[in-house]
Each structure stands twice: as structure tokens, then as C-alpha cells.
């Protein structure tokens, strides 16, 4: 089992969610974050003064998926979140030992 984490632009959440649903993903967890990567280093003017701004708002999407689906899920997310501009975000995948559905106590793939 894999945990796929995507840090994306907030306004792309909708598209990513729709794409995942269409792909057949049955659940996800979303939270707010900030970050920077290549995108950093732009300046901002406010009230006549200039500032360097680092951290930009992002949305973090986490999806638990079966081993075999993982690559496809990643592709789906990347495609849906892409604008081609810096700040598009990162996706990574981590191995998961076990998943449990709290309601039933089911484990593994059935818990998804």
C-alpha cells in the first residue's frame, strides 16, 4: 500500500479531486500548508515598501492507494494539477505498512 502526498496550488484542488474521483479513488484527506521550491524569491510591494516573500499557500492532498494503483494515481494528480508554471507543486509516495478502517476495523486493501 502507498500513501501519495501532493502539495498543489489551492485553486487546482477541484480539478485534482475530480480527476481522482473519475479514476475511481474512493477517499482522500486534504489540509492547508505553505511552502516554496523553485518558486521562491519574488518580491512584493505593499504600502510603498518592498518585501521578499517565501512561503506561498498550498493545499496538501493525501491519498492511500493500493500498490498497483500508485503510479496511476500519481499520474492522475500530476496531470490534473499541472499549469506548467513554477509553484505547481510536488507529489511523493511513501510505503505504508497497513491501513485500518476505524468504523469496521477492516485492514489492508478492504480498508480503502
Amino acid at each position: 500500500m502507498k500513501l501519495i502526498t501532493a502539495v498543489i496550488k489551492p485553486f487546482k484542488l477541484d480539478d485534482v479531486k475530480a480527476a481522482l474521483e473519475q479514476f475511481g479513488i474512493k477517499g482522500m484527506t486534504v489540509s492547508e500548508a505553505s511552502g516554496y521550491g523553485r518558486q521562491r524569491g519574488h518580491t512584493e510591494v505593499y504600502r510603498g515598501a518592498e518585501y521578499q516573500v517565501d512561503l506561498v499557500p498550498k493545499v496538501r492532498v493525501e491519498v492511500l492507494a493500493e500498490e498497483d494503483d500508485a503510479e496511476d494515481v500519481i499520474d492522475v494528480i500530476v496531470k490534473a494539477a499541472q499549469t506548467g508554471k513554477i509553484g505547481d507543486g510536488k507529489v511523493w509516495s511513501v510505503p505504508v505498512d497497513t491501513v485500518i478502517r476505524v468504523r469496521t476495523g477492516e485492514r489492508g486493501p478492504e480498508a480503502l
Partner: protein, 439 residues
């Protein structure tokens, strides 16, 4: 110049109260939008204070309240004259010669605040998606071509006044007028991205209630102040305002409770505004029991009327039509039935007090005529703006949030982390940045 100090004391106060209503409206409207567009929503109200004040001083007062020529001509039925351009002629003159009036500048300031809020009211129909510059231009044009003339028609000695229309504090001039313009703009701008798909619920209901609190408070200046004197009628207008508002708020949340299973905060807020709107034209003309009934009717009807936009498919975002157009019309028409204390020449009691059906006719004609005129003019002005400078922002800017893309600010930055470079862990940082990144 002789004036009555008591009357003037109250009218100065009333003017300040009505002015406060526009910030109140900004909070009411601002709280109802999503967090990403609260600033733009409030800015539309605040900039209306600017545009209308400046046009009022330059020529608005004259168009609305000066008589054209000697006043006894056909042009004066439509529009006022130009004696008070720049307001210079009002200095050191009073509304009445017998010493029972107030300085003309106080009267002018009082009327100015009505013009301001009428323009600001319209903005509720186009939340989240209007170009700021376009809104500024629209406000100036609509005030000039619609509000000033219509105020003249009803209160400045124009044709509706001649017909004996009863509109104590602006059910027709303010609410029907603004509501119809809002409807027109909702068509001109089209629906918000995601409308009917996202709930688009109010992002801050404490702000909504703050707005309602200030509106209610200020509305006493609006309604009781419209008597332009301190007397029994002012007291009646005050009490009726309170009674109708409470009744309407109660009716609205009762409808909600019965229909949806719960009474909401937005319901109390909307119901109160619906009551205030409906009693506006009627407050000095009716008995307290009639105000109570009017409030109940307005609250219940408007609770349903705000659903109309879904049926007819126009995105009147913050219910300008359902509350102001419908509520204002209810109040205006009701006077044909329940008016009991007409005071001007040509005004009559309502049907149930034996008044003539013609009064009911005028009470219907007024809102219809004003509503149609305002709708058509707003639509035309809106379309011209849309074709020239454009009235709607880009969709990507709308989805990202109009606050950050238009005003380069976000309403809130409540994150606990504010170390260097972390302007906000939770919120967009700046349009400048957004621009540079996304473009």
C-alpha cells in the same frame, strides 16, 4: 437664519446614523461572501461613499432637490435644476423660514447619505466578480442617471410626488430602485464560477450580524429622520420600524424552522433587513399593529423570495432582489391598503380606512415605474461598461479570489507563524506574488 435646535440636533444625529449604515452594509455583505472576496465586497460599499459624495456635492443635490426653473414646468417633473451646484447656495440658509427647520446643509447631508447607500446596495448582486474600476464608473453613472432623477420624482417635487405617492423613507426610491438595478447587473455579469455547485456560504456570520446591528441602529435615523422634524410622527416611525423589523426577523426564522428544520443566523439577519426594507416606505403612515402585520408578511415572503434566483437562474449573489426589490415593493404597495396618516397634498388613506383605490394604483405604479426605469438604465449602463472597459474579472482571478487579485490583499491573516518571509501560513500572500508566480 433661524432654525429649531431640537429638530436640527436630531437631524444631524440622524444623518450620522444613516451614514453609518453604509459601513454596516459593507459588513453585512462582506460577511456573506467567501473569505477570498470579503475585501472587494466591502470596498464596493466604501467606494460608493466616495463616488456619491463627490457627485452629490458637485451636482447631485441640485438634480434631486432643486426645483427646475420656478418648479412649475414639465422638466421639473423629471429632473431638478442647478442652483445648488457645489452646495455654495445652501450655506447659511434654512429649510424653513419660520424657524422650525434646519440648516439646508444638514438636509443636504441627510439626503446624501440615502444616495450613498442606495448605490452601495446594488453591489450585493455582483459579489466576487466585478472589476473594481467598472463598479466605480457604474456607481457614478447610475447615481447620476437614475438615483438623482428618481429621488426628484418622489421627494423633489417630480411627477410621482404630483401623483400623491406615499414613500416615507424610500421603499421605492431606495429599495425597489437598488433591487431592480441589482437584478440588471446580475444579468450583465452572469453567474459566479461554481454557482449552484458550491454552497458559497457566508464566511463570517459575526460580521453579518455586526452589519445588521449597525443597519438596524442606523435605520432609525433613516426612517424617523425622514420626518425631517421631531414630532409625533417621528416617534411613530421609530416605533413602527422596531416592530416591523422584529416581526419580520421572527417570521423569517419561523419559516426556516418549519421548512428546513432549523433557524439560522443568516435568517435572522436577512429577516431583520427585509422588515426594515418593508417598513421604510410605510413607517410614518401606519399604526403599530399594521407595522407588525407588514413585518410578518415581508419576513415570510422574502424568506421564500430569496430562492427565486435558483428558479430563474440569475446569480443575485447576496439577495438584493429577494430582499430589497421584493421587500420594498411589499411595503410600497401595502400603503394602498393600510396607510392611515397621509400628510401631503394628494396622499390618501389606504383601502381599509376608506381611501380611494387610486392610491393603491399609485402605490403600484411607483415601484413598477421606478423598477423598470432602474432595471433598463442599469442594464444599458452595465452593458456599455462591459463592452468598453469590461465589467467582469478573469475567471482565474475569480477562482483565486478577487481580494488578492484585484486589491493585492487578503481579509485575514490569522496564522500564528509570522516570522520573516512567512506573511501567512494560511492565506495567499499578495497579488504581486500571485501574479509573478502564475503569469
Amino acid at each position: 437664519m433661524k432654525i429649531d435646535t431640537g429638530t436640527t440636533a436630531w437631524m444631524i444625529t440622524a444623518t450620522a446614523l444613516v451614514l453609518l449604515m453604509t459601513p454596516g452594509l459593507a459588513f453585512f455583505y462582506g460577511g456573506m461572501t467567501r473569505a477570498k472576496s470579503v475585501l472587494n465586497m466591502m470596498m464596493m460599499s466604501f467606494v460608493s461613499i466616495i463616488t456619491v459624495t463627490l457627485t452629490w456635492v458637485l451636482y447631485g443635490h441640485s438634480l434631486a432637490f432643486d426645483a427646475f426653473g420656478d418648479g412649475d414646468n414639465v422638466i421639473n417633473k423629471i429632473i431638478g435644476g442647478g442652483d445648488a451646484l457645489g452646495l455654495q447656495s445652501l450655506i447659511d440658509t434654512a429649510t424653513k423660514d419660520d424657524g422650525t427647520g434646519m440648516p439646508n446643509l444638514v438636509f443636504s447631508a441627510f439626503q446624501l447619505t440615502f444616495a450613498i447607500i442606495t448605490v452601495a446596495l446594488i453591489s450585493g448582486a455582483i459579489a466576487d466578480r466585478a472589476k473594481f474600476g467598472a463598479w466605480v464608473v457604474f456607481g457614478i453613472a447610475w447615481a447620476t442617471l437614475v438615483y438623482f432623477p428618481v429621488a426628484h420624482w418622489v421627494w423633489g417635487g417630480g411627477w410621482l410626488a404630483g401623483l400623491g405617492i406615499e414613500d416615507f423613507a424610500g421603499g421605492t426610491v431606495v429599495h425597489v430602485n437598488a433591487g431592480a438595478a441589482g437584478l440588471a447587473l446580475a444579468f450583465v455579469l452572469g453567474k459566479r464560477t461554481g454557482w449552484r455547485k458550491d454552497p458559497m456560504r457566508p464566511h463570517n456570520l459575526t460580521l453579518v450580524l455586526l452589519g445588521v446591528g449597525l443597519l438596524w441602529f442606523g435605520w432609525f435615523g433613516f426612517n424617523a429622520g425622514s420626518e425631517l422634524a421631531v414630532d409625533g410622527t417621528a416617534g411613530l416611525a421609530f416605533m413602527n420600524t422596531q416592530v416591523a423589523t422584529a416581526a419580520a426577523a421572527g417570521a423569517w426564522i419561523l419559516v426556516e424552522k418549519l421548512r428546513d428544520g432549523h433557524s439560522t443566523t443568516l435568517g435572522v439577519a436577512s429577516g431583520a433587513v427585509a422588515g426594515l426594507v418593508a417598513i421604510t416606505p410605510a413607517c410614518g403612515f401606519v399604526d403599530p399593529w399594521a407595522a407588525l402585520v407588514l413585518g410578518l408578511v415581508a419576513g415570510a415572503v422574502c424568506a421564500y423570495a430569496v430562492g427565486l434566483k435558483y428558479r430563474f437562474g440569475f446569480d443575485d449573489s447576496l439577495d438584493v432582489v429577494g430582499v430589497h426589490l421584493v421587500g420594498g415593493a411589499i411595503g410600497a404597495v401595502s400603503l394602498g391598503l393600510i396607510a392611515r396618516y397621509p400628510f401631503a397634498d394628494g396622499q390618501n388613506e389606504g383601502l381599509i380606512y376608506g381611501g380611494p383605490i387610486s392610491q393603491l394604483g399609485v402605490q403600484v405604479l411607483g415601484p413598477v415605474a421606478v423598477g423598470l426605469y432602474s432595471f433598463i438604465m442599469a442594464y444599458v449602463i452595465g452593458k456599455i461598461i462591459d463592452k468598453t472597459m469590461g465589467f467582469r474579472i478573469e475567471q482565474e482571478d475569480e477562482v483565486t479570489g478577487i481580494d488578492i487579485t484585484t486589491h493585492a490583499e487578503t481579509g485575514y491573516d490569522l496564522g500564528t507563524v509570522h516570522s520573516s518571509g512567512v506573511a501567512s501560513v494560511n492565506g495567499p500572500v499578495s497579488a504581486a506574488q500571485a501574479k509573478k508566480v502564475d503569469a
